[in-house]
């Protein structure tokens, strides 16, 4: 086998891993979109907020320290304790659930039956609010996130593949963990939605609000539930992304990459979000490595959008989305 082929394979594998991250954010989008028809612009910021909160809790940071110091002239910064990663993650999940309850109570509840564009605007507002809140609560500096996930190139894989193929694959161990966690998350979500009473209620609400009400389902409860799940999916994405490149505000920009992912996969399909994420992740890496040098590089900034545009022309409902048929 030619060296070139293995290299391409390695690049695609790395791309797939990056794609998982896009897929996770897109997954949060799809969940909320299906259940409530809301295009949640804030999904990426939820991931940022979750990661900030996680680091803050883990390191015993005092929330709003800057604000308190500015008002009272104190110089607080840390409680002086640190929390084990598991505890901090569990607490962050609780915070994300609390956030879902607040979002339902103070935003969604007041906007039922509004035009989708109004709801979309509300989530833009929410995104900026959460970004600001994250800043005021935990500070704007780049933070290191370490929940004990393995990091660095896996030497085992390098050695084994070198012995087998004569070509050592460089795969980041964090990417492998991210893949496994993402797979486990998607499988549990599928099981939850197919085989539990709440999963069935969730699918019912996604299908027809009026019918769901008539069988005794509380839409508000389902909305809180689905925003909590989206918050926890965001937490997982935040952990992976933060472990890889530190917790910084540019994290919320991955939300924008989720948009082409959704165009590719369809806004209403969970498998679509996953496959779309993988295709974009892999496509942009391959393109950058093989075509990039010929056209001056930095193709990762726009490749996803162009691919999505091309897709939009030929298959507007996405790979797995429901066919849009206008009734006349």
């Amino acid at each position: 086998m030619p060296e070139q082929f293995y290299f391409a394979l390695e690049v695609s594998l790395n791309g797939l891993m990056a794609g998982i991250m896009y897929a996770l954010v897109a997954l949060g989008f799809v969940l909320i979109f299906k259940a409530s028809g809301i295009f949640n612009y804030a999904q990426g910021v939820l991931a940022l907020f979750a990661a900030l909160t996680l680091v803050g809790l883990q390191n015993g940071q005092i929330p709003f320290a800057h604000l308190i110091n500015a008002v009272f002239g104190t110089s607080l910064h840390h409680f002086g304790w640190t929390l084990p990663a598991v505890v901090a993650i569990a607490l962050t999940a609780v915070v994300m659930t609390g956030l879902a309850i607040l979002i339902e109570r103070y935003i969604l509840k007041h906007l039922v039956n509004q035009e989708p564009i109004i709801l979309f605007m509300a989530t833009i507002g929410l995104a900026y609010f959460l970004e600001g809140l994250g800043d005021v609560m935990w500070g704007a500096e780049i933070k290191n996130l370490d929940v004990g996930l393995p990091q660095g190139i896996s030497e085992t894989i390098d050695e084994v593949t070198f012995n087998w193929f004569g070509y050592g694959f460089f795969i980041d161990r964090l990417d492998i963990v991210a893949t496994l966690v993402a797979a486990a998350l998607v499988i549990s979500l599928m099981l939850f939605s197919q085989f539990t009473k709440y999963g069935r209620a969730l699918r019912a609400v996604a299908d027809d609000h009026q019918a769901a009400l008539s069988v005794g389902i509380s839409l508000r409860f389902i909305w809180v539930m689905v925003w909590s799940i989206a918050g926890i999916v965001a937490l997982v994405a935040g952990i992976m992304w933060g472990s890889k490149s530190g917790v910084q505000f540019s994290l919320s920009l991955i939300a924008l990459k989720a948009l082409p992912v959704l165009m590719l996969g369809g806004f209403t399909s969970i498998p679509g979000a996953i496959v779309g994420g993988l295709i974009i992740g892999m496509g942009e890496k391959l393109f950058e490595f093989f075509i990039g040098p010929m056209i001056g590089g930095a193709t990762e900034n726009w490749f996803a959008y162009v691919l999505a545009l091309i897709f939009l022309v030929f298959r507007p409902q996405g790979l797995f989305g429901e066919r849009i048929i206008e009734r006349v």
Binding site: Y198, R200, R203, D208, S214, I217, S218
Partner: protein, 273 residues
């Protein structure tokens, strides 16, 4: 008609009807300037099949929507099982044991027939969100038990052959039947049917009539239904409320209603003053 005694009455075909289950008192419902219902009162008794009839736009569906909580009347009181019902959301009404079908069918089109009917049992399922996540075994046992009940309903309504079919692919008549199955799955105290036979052919109508009678007979379910086909109404119902332009113009046994002059006028299209 002569008012039935508080404890109930016996029908012509010998079924015994119980005390009042649901009572609507002086209901008025407005949409902006339009009065859909004007000061209507009537009751539904336990074990009864109660029909609501009237010309198009009379306010029949609106009345059903008031009972099931989808519309909130501006005036009047709703009494259920001897207590005044506070303002309630539709899902809360459903949890009280009132199930319904819709004039325009509201099913979960993307889900299978079986799944659709299973949603009918959501209100009867006990285990909470955490329990479902943590004690998978128990949740599964509960699911199995409910599944068995649903299979009984499927047999009862003779829809075994479409159990796994996505509802979106079914013809109209079968959709109506699946919607009835989902409502029955809730084991309701009161079942509301909005034109269960609309758009059906004669054979389908006969089947549906038989199912409605059987449900009432075998499970003792109280039923309120809206229907345009007078033959069907006369055959099925114990008592009939007649509405026209949002007002009640008749209330009694099918025979009494049929000979009521106001009802005859409404149906023959006599000009309103």
């Amino acid at each position: 008609m002569n008012a039935p005694s508080p404890d109930g009455y016996t029908t012509a075909d010998g079924r015994s009807i119980g005390p009042v289950l649901m009572e609507m008192k002086n209901i008025t419902l407005r949409f902006g300037g339009v009065k859909a219902i004007t000061d209507i009162s009537f009751d539904i008794r336990e074990g009864e099949i109660r029909a609501i009839i009237g010309p198009n736009g009379a306010g029949k569906s609106s009345m059903l929507n008031v009972i099931s909580g989808f519309y909130v009347p501006q005036e009047g009181e709703v009494w259920f099982r001897g207590a005044r019902r506070p303002a309630m959301k539709p899902f809360q009404v459903a949890r009280q044991g009132i199930a319904r079908t819709f004039q325009n069918i509201a099913l979960f089109e993307g889900m299978s027939v079986l799944d659709n009917i299973m949603t009918g049992r959501l209100t009867l399922m006990k285990s909470g969100l955490m329990a479902q996540a943590l004690w998978w075994g128990r949740a599964e046992a509960e699911e199995t038990a409910h599944r068995a009940e649903v299979e009984r309903i499927i047999d009862f309504l003779e829809i075994q052959h479409i159990r796994k079919t996505p509802v979106g692919r079914l013809p109209y008549g079968l959709k109506k039947r699946v919607e009835l199955a989902r409502a029955l799955a809730a084991e309701p105290k009161l079942l509301l049917l909005d034109e269960p036979m609309a758009g059906m052919n004669v054979e389908e109508k006969e089947d549906m009539s038989r199912f409605i009678l059987d449900v009432n007979d075998e499970f003792g379910t109280t039923i309120a239904l809206i229907e345009h086909d007078m033959g069907v109404v006369m055959d099925l119902s114990d008592r009939v409320v007649v509405m026209d332009y949002g007002k009640k113009i008749g209330d009694g046994t099918p025979d009494e209603v049929r000979s009521n002059q106001a009802v005859i006028d409404a149906y023959l299209g006599v000009a309103h003053d």
